[in-house]
Symmetry: C2
DNA sequence: AAAATAAATGTAATTTTAACACTAAAAATT
DNA sequence: AATTTTTAGTGTTAAAATTACATTTATTTT
């Protein structure tokens, strides 16, 4: 250990809370867990845990999410730190929030095996413990800003999707109705989608063409920092 | 203390590092401090300190900034948390960064009294300790994004300023040259400035009209989330 | 056979953005 | 004293992006 004079400083518990947004082609949802320890045992809560000494925060978020939901390989992004002194009545804790977007259909089998975990429509989610509702609000604001910054379909949709699905997703995030033709024109003009020969036959027997993201073109554009104002 | 089972969890040191950007009508600058304790004593560093148990992070940032620079009443905003396991060789610390924008002229007397504190042009700042350079990069990116999100002249300019100053500020932040007429037209069209009868006589004897922000109109627009793409 | 649902497609009007040059006042230079 | 340089101030036009908007086709339902 290098010589230092940090020894007189206070140490704190550092929590990580994960805000997992999901989409099922209609509604924006959030994944919550029924807390199984005190305080507030039995209440609905974000997916959370504590940072361990030997890991960084990104790793902690991944570990905690996996431990409580079985979800793997979910890319999460830091949102904000909450540090109000009495935010957790039991003990002084600071909480770092992370958020992710996932396609519910792709990940659902795993999640459903875990018992006290459940998807809620964002609009009718239960009251959450501590300052978790505030955390969700902050994450929604971030999600909305990000949706305008670059297309987010990658994470929230299955690999192949229809224009309708993509539009519904944006409508759910931005809480507006969008014009179908303008939406399609805008998306197409970004030149980041590949139109497949396949059709999705689930919502009509006529079928709707499937698209997928052109990862390469997409990456190139993200580097230049393009904006995707719908 | 409420019953809880947090007791087995690790606690960590939580640092706060402040990135203070300044503007002197020409260049974007950053305020740095020469570290006076080990490790890395004598090297240039962000303005930093540790969170105390009885304060939240916003308060800690304000206290630390005041303690090291004498600056008061500076509004800072959270940027990001850095948590790489060995980022500080002395001991495991996690650091929360905050940033602020200030007008150098308005605040300089206070700062200059403090000895090991100094303004550097962003472009030729010295090498910083630990991951502080990374922190600065992240804060610059945030500053740039924010400059496009809403006008930031409030904090970086004196109360009364000329169009030229405002334009120089944007040019410094965005690292581009802007067209004078287009810039003025754009700013005027936002309808958030009040043109004063006074003139600034410092840069020419002809004088340039001074403006100030119309705080009320500005607040109303910020609520609606307007964007200020220059 | 008629009505209803989902998919696909293009144009014209409006708004926003970008490019661009001169005049006036005063100071500095010759 | 004349010339050049610096700073301030001001509008127009072309190009690009955004918005509003309606019909046809395939298929299923009644």
């Amino acid at each position: 250990m290098v010589l230092n004079n940090y020894s007189k400083e206070d140490k704190v518990l550092l929590a990580v809370d994960c805000i997992i947004f999901g989409f099922d082609n209609e509604e924006l949802k959030i994944l919550l867990v029924q807390r199984d320890f005190e305080p507030e045992k039995g209440k609905w809560s974000l997916i959370g845990g504590f940072l361990k000494k030997e890991e960084n925060l990104d790793k902690a978020a991944i570990r905690i999410l996996h431990h409580l939901t079985g979800l793997n390989n979910i890319y999460m992004e830091q949102v904000y730190i909450f540090s109000k002194v009495d935010r957790d009545p039991a003990e002084r804790t600071i909480s770092v929030t992370y958020y992710a977007l996932i396609d519910i259909a792709t990940h659902d089998e795993k999640i459903l095996k875990q018992n006290p975990i459940q998807w809620f429509n964002l609009k009718d989610a239960p009251k959450l413990i501590f300052d978790h509702s505030l955390m969700v609000e902050k994450a929604i604001a971030r999600l909305r800003r990000r949706a305008l910054g670059k297309p987010i379909g990658f994470e929230l949709l299955p690999e192949k999707f229809t224009m309708r699905q993509l539009q519904k997703l944006y409508e759910a995030i931005l809480e507006t109705k969008l014009d179908k033709r303008n939406f399609i024109n805008k998306v197409i003009s970004q030149d980041i989608l590949i139109k497949l020969d396949e059709k999705d036959m689930t919502s009509s027997k006529k079928g709707a063409y499937l698209f997928k993201f052109d990862q390469e073109k997409y990456n190139r554009k993200v580097e230049d920092g393009f904006n995707f104002k719908i």
